[in-house]
């Protein structure tokens, strides 16, 4: 297991030292990791790995891998391996491949470490390293200052949430907990446990790009597209959901309701914003936000097994979609180099030029919108059913808003994905140049098609509509136990809504194509939505400048208040010393010279009386002195 953890890092370092073969080397290391992870998962029973060490004196931390994390370890290493392969293709013209693979290896290492940690502080360490390596990869093309700024925003937004999480962890440790995740229990009910819960929750919201922190994820899209696939769709953003799963027991039910509500709000907003995007990657980014909202909601209503399952399926089909997008962007940036290779309005008709990409895209997309026979259907239905049964048990009638909104989101999701499919692959190409078929390299095709195949439903449940989820049984030891007469109508209406959404997108874009799109996108409302409700603008335009203003004003305290104050003191001391000096010269010196001149005047007066016979004066003075001394001697 330690080998699994270290291999990606080692691979990255090796790739860095041998730049000419960097991609291949890193991929080989990752394939070893994947094989090892698969091996452990299939042949080792019980707790797979335990390792504890004393990091600080008297402060023990440890790794522990059980089956639920081992499955995710396999997921991360497999997708990371595929992304490594795809990167060989995607970055074939880039000169800084060595650096890229080092960062990628480092990311994979930190992500695996996060999944393996069994201690809150250790988890936080890897949590931060994941954020850091994500930052490094976002700014990979740092020559463009826009990317650098985007990276900074992403890291800072994460950092805010992370530090609040850190506070929560420290308070948890402070309340007498030893910090081992496997031995966590419910907290006693008091104010501090609520505070802890809120802090932990905010950490989850930050990493998993939930409302109100989701603004960082679209910024993160400026990184290379394979990175978006790995980090900002499949693995890192899922860390929040994973943490929620691990710390499930700590949250009290009241907070869980909040979690569910925040999840559905995010899912809805994300889907709405995605529907108004024109940038190919931005659609997928907001779609990721929306899907993560589903998972968080699933966690909140207690359907944690389904939420994790959705994490798994989403990782494959969303990574697949991003890699398809990468394939499209790479193709267009070579065939028709302009400044906007990601603008869907310029694309169209790519179906015949990129057939494998198209078919993979189609499969992954079907999985995303949740049609039967595809993996997304199984997990999404599970979550929706979980939410519904939760709402049935809830006393509050408002709770039904959640499953209903969730159904509505199915429609939106189908709509924006159908729109993207039509704009990118159907119709005819809307750019200036004519396109040529490209010879495809296997490093491009293989990852995409593997991800698409894994998005099929048959791997998880043979029967498309009903039956047992053996995979989930194996993974988490649970079976979804949702029963009731409403199950079939729920599933039916969900499928219906998806089909309606697809149909609606075909009705808007399939026939009229671009004209409709322009009119829709120029309306004020859609611009408002497209910009993510100006949440980002609010942060960057109001919060950040006011913070800067505060910093500037504080620095003024030094220059205007403290420094002048002490300078005034020193000046006043100098002035005082000058006054003393003046006093010294005028008064004290003056007195002395007064006395001196008086004596001088007297002396000169006396010299007039006496002629200058100094010796005699002197002798008589000495004699007089002796007489006085002798007299004193006798007198005393």
């Amino acid at each position: 297991m330690a080998l699994i953890l270290l291999l990606p890092l080692l691979g990255g370092i090796m790739a860095y030292t041998i730049p000419s073969k960097s991609g291949i080397i890193a991929s080989i290391f990752l394939s070893l990791t994947t094989i090892l992870a698969g091996y452990y998962l299939s042949f080792v029973q019980g707790t797979l790995w335990m390792f504890q060490f004393e990091w600080l004196p008297g402060f023990v931390m440890g790794f522990a891998v059980d089956r639920s994390s081992a499955v995710l370890i396999l997921l991360v290493s497999l997708i990371s391996f595929l992304v490594h392969l795809f990167s060989i293709f995607y970055l074939s013209e880039d000169v800084h491949k060595d650096r890229y693979y080092l960062k990628l290896g480092f990311f994979t290492f930190s992500m695996l470490g996060l999944l393996m940690s069994d201690h809150l502080i250790l988890l936080f360490i890897f949590w931060e390293l994941v954020g850091f390596s994500s930052y490094l990869l976002i700014i990979f093309w740092f020559q463009d200052v826009k990317n650098a700024i985007a990276g900074r925003i992403a890291f800072m937004t994460n950092r805010i949430a992370d530090l609040i999480l850190f506070m929560g962890l420290l308070m948890l440790l402070g309340s007498g907990n030893d910090g081992f995740i496997s031995s966590l229990g419910p907290l006693p009910e008091n104010d501090s446990s609520t505070a802890i819960g809120i802090c932990l929750l905010i950490g989850v919201l930050g990493k998993s790009a939930q409302f109100p922190f989701f603004t960082w994820l679209p910024h993160a899209m400026v990184g290379p597209t394979p990175i978006s696939a790995l980090i900002h769709a499949a693995t890192m953003v899922a860390a929040g959901v994973y943490l929620l799963f691990r710390l499930f027991i700590v949250f009290d039910p009241y907070l869980l309701d909040w979690i569910a509500s925040l999840g559905i709000i995010t899912a809805f907003l994300g889907a709405l914003i995605a529907a108004c995007q024109t940038d190919m990657k931005a659609v997928l980014a907001y779609s990721t936000i929306s899907q993560l909202g589903y998972m968080v909601m699933g966690m909140g209503v207690g359907a944690y097994d389904m939420a994790l399952f959705h994490l798994w399926t989403h990782a494959f089909f969303k990574a697949g979609l991003f890699l398809c997008a990468g394939s499209v962007i790479h193709y267009l940036s070579i065939q028709d180099p302009t400044t906007a290779p990601q603008d869907m309005r310029r694309m169209g008709g790519l179906k015949s030029y990129l057939p494998i990409t198209f078919w993979s895209y189609l499969v992954c997309m079907m999985a995303l919108v949740g049609l039967p026979f595809f993996s997304g259907f199984l997990s999404k239905e599970g979550i929706i059913l979980g939410v519904f049964s939760w709402a049935m048990q809830s006393e509050n009638g408002l709770a039904f808003a959640l499953p209903i909104t969730a159904l509505g989101i199915s429609f939106l999701t189908a709509y924006y994905m159908g729109k993207q499919l039509l704009l990118v692959f159907f119709g005819s190409y809307r750019g200036e140049k004519s396109l040529k078929m490209l010879q495809k390299s296997w490093t491009e095709i293989l990852p995409i098609s593997v991800l698409a195949i894994l998005s099929l439903g048959v791997f998880y449940r043979i029967h498309p509509l009903g039956g047992d989820l053996n995979f989930l049984e194996y993974w988490l030891g649970t079976q979804p136990k949702v029963e009731g007469s409403w199950v079939t109508p729920m599933i039916g209406s969900s499928i219906l809504l998806v089909l309606l959404g697809l149909g609606f997108s075909y009705w808007t874009y399939g026939r009229q194509g671009m004209r409709k799109m322009k009119s829709f996108n120029s309306s004020r409302l859609s611009i408002f939505v497209q910009n993510g409700f100006y949440l980002d603008k609010f942060y960057m335009g109001i919060l950040v400048p006011s913070f800067d203003w505060l910093a500037f004003k504080t620095s003024k305290v030094d220059t205007v208040l403290i420094n002048p104050f002490f300078n005034k003191i020193s000046v006043s001391i100098v002035v005082l010393s000058k006054v003393t000096d003046l006093f010294d010269r005028l008064i004290v010196d003056g007195l002395i010279s007064l006395i001196k001149s008086v004596v001088q005047i007297l002396g000169s007066m006396f010299t007039k009386f006496h002629p200058a016979r100094v010796q005699i004066h002197f002798v008589s003075a000495i004699i007089g002195l002796v007489i006085i001394l002798v007299w004193l001697k006798f007198a005393l």
């Binding site: 004196p57 740092f142 900074r152 530090l163 402070g174 403290i562």
Partner: protein
Amino acid sequence: MSSYILSLIIWMPLLGAFTLLFFNERQTSGIKIVALIFSLIQLLFSIGLVWRFDPNYGDHLLTSFQFVEKFSWISMSLGSFGSFNIDYHLGVDGMSLWLVVLSSLITVLGVLASWKLKQQVRSYFMLYLLLSTSIVGCFLALDFFLFYLFFELVLLPMFFLIGLWGGPRRSYASIKFFIYTLVGSLLILVVMIALYLSVGVLDPTSEMMIHSFNLLHMMDSNYFIEGSSLAKDSVLTFMGMPLRAVAFLALFLGFAIKLPIVPFHTWLPDAHVEAATPISVILAALLLKLGGYGLYRIAFSIFPDAALHFGYYIAIFGVLAIIYGGLNAMAQNDLKRMIAYSSISHMGFVLIGLGSFTVEGAAGGMFQMIAHGFISAALFLIVGVLYDRTQNRKIENFSGLATKLPGYSFVVMIVFFASLGLPGLAGFVGELLVLMGAFNVSAVDGMLPNWIGIVAVMGLLITAAYYLWTIQRMFLGKYWVREHSWEPKMKDLEIREWLIFTPLILGIVVLGMYPKIILNTMNHSIELFIAHVGDLKIKL
């Protein structure tokens, strides 16, 4: 134990300074090599000290010092005042051990960093080595008078090193530095004399009170003379406050000016900006630690009762420094000024750690000092690299340096992220321990309220903000420098510079990943320290 290793460590640089007298001003390379050799020998001795150090020595703070050397130095009878005794008394424990190692390492690196110096080389290195002797002397002295002597001796070479080899406003900066620290020293001096008069042993043969400056006696309440002004049960007050509290506050202020605390910090940015790179390094990495070490060894150990009383306010000062320093750093456009303010911000954690009165907090504060020694040294050297090439440090004059200077930018990334507290690097551990202490103590007995920890964590956010902003403005984006004449000079790190940075970066990474390397040797002493200081806490 009759070993003179501590004396050797202290006096080795001074020996080097004397050796330099045999050189004339023009033999610059010879002078540099001599300085390097003597500082290397010092480093070797301090590594040997670590080697021979027993981490579990002693079972009480007063008996936990190793390699003790004690000779009577000045002893005279003052008639009815008893006798006047100053000892040459050295000793090392887990807290001072690593500060000594840090000092000798930084001294070596500072010599390397001054390698290109051209003016008045001999006097520079003589002052430099004298500075090194006095800093290490402070860390090892166990006699208050000896400590004070070294403490004052630091001022002198520093004053000249800033004032003669500094930047354009050097005379202002050096005088400011001198006056600020001198005011602090005078406060310490007053308390030292008062302590001297209150501590003593009755000589059984001559019935005379033997006063001494022995720090260990001052820490032990049994040695306080009955009814003296600073005795444990003293009822004397000064302006309505118990005299012991006043004495503690005076000591605290004296050392805290050095640390520094807001609002007595303004000497620091000025001194840093005007000082040459190696001097800035010494200033940030070592001189600030003198203040922190003084708080641990003297202020807290001698007046634990008063310290406990003020613990909360000390932590508030820590938080204030963190936030205030951070915000100030954010507003600077001079890279060196920014880093100077970030030092203020980081030293705030030491105060919180001390104020928490827990083993974690105190160990965290100590670790923070060591880690900051490494990180701040690297930070100022980073500024130095740029300044050497362009004579300029304004943030807005550079952009996209990562393209042109990849090696340099690599170093910058590691050091900046270490400073902003990325886990796995040294900066994180100290902060983690301090915050653990702060949150623990708030849960256990409410000495510090939770908000101290919460605001301190927010301070980390500010740190992240200004470092990331600086990285983005200076190192990312398109390569560009303000003056065309700088272009040919913009070269990546040379071997000498790598030689300086490598040990620092190694230290940062190793301390961050395996902090036990230091904490194992330090922990016992910290526990004894807290047992000594927190003794009263249990009774309260």
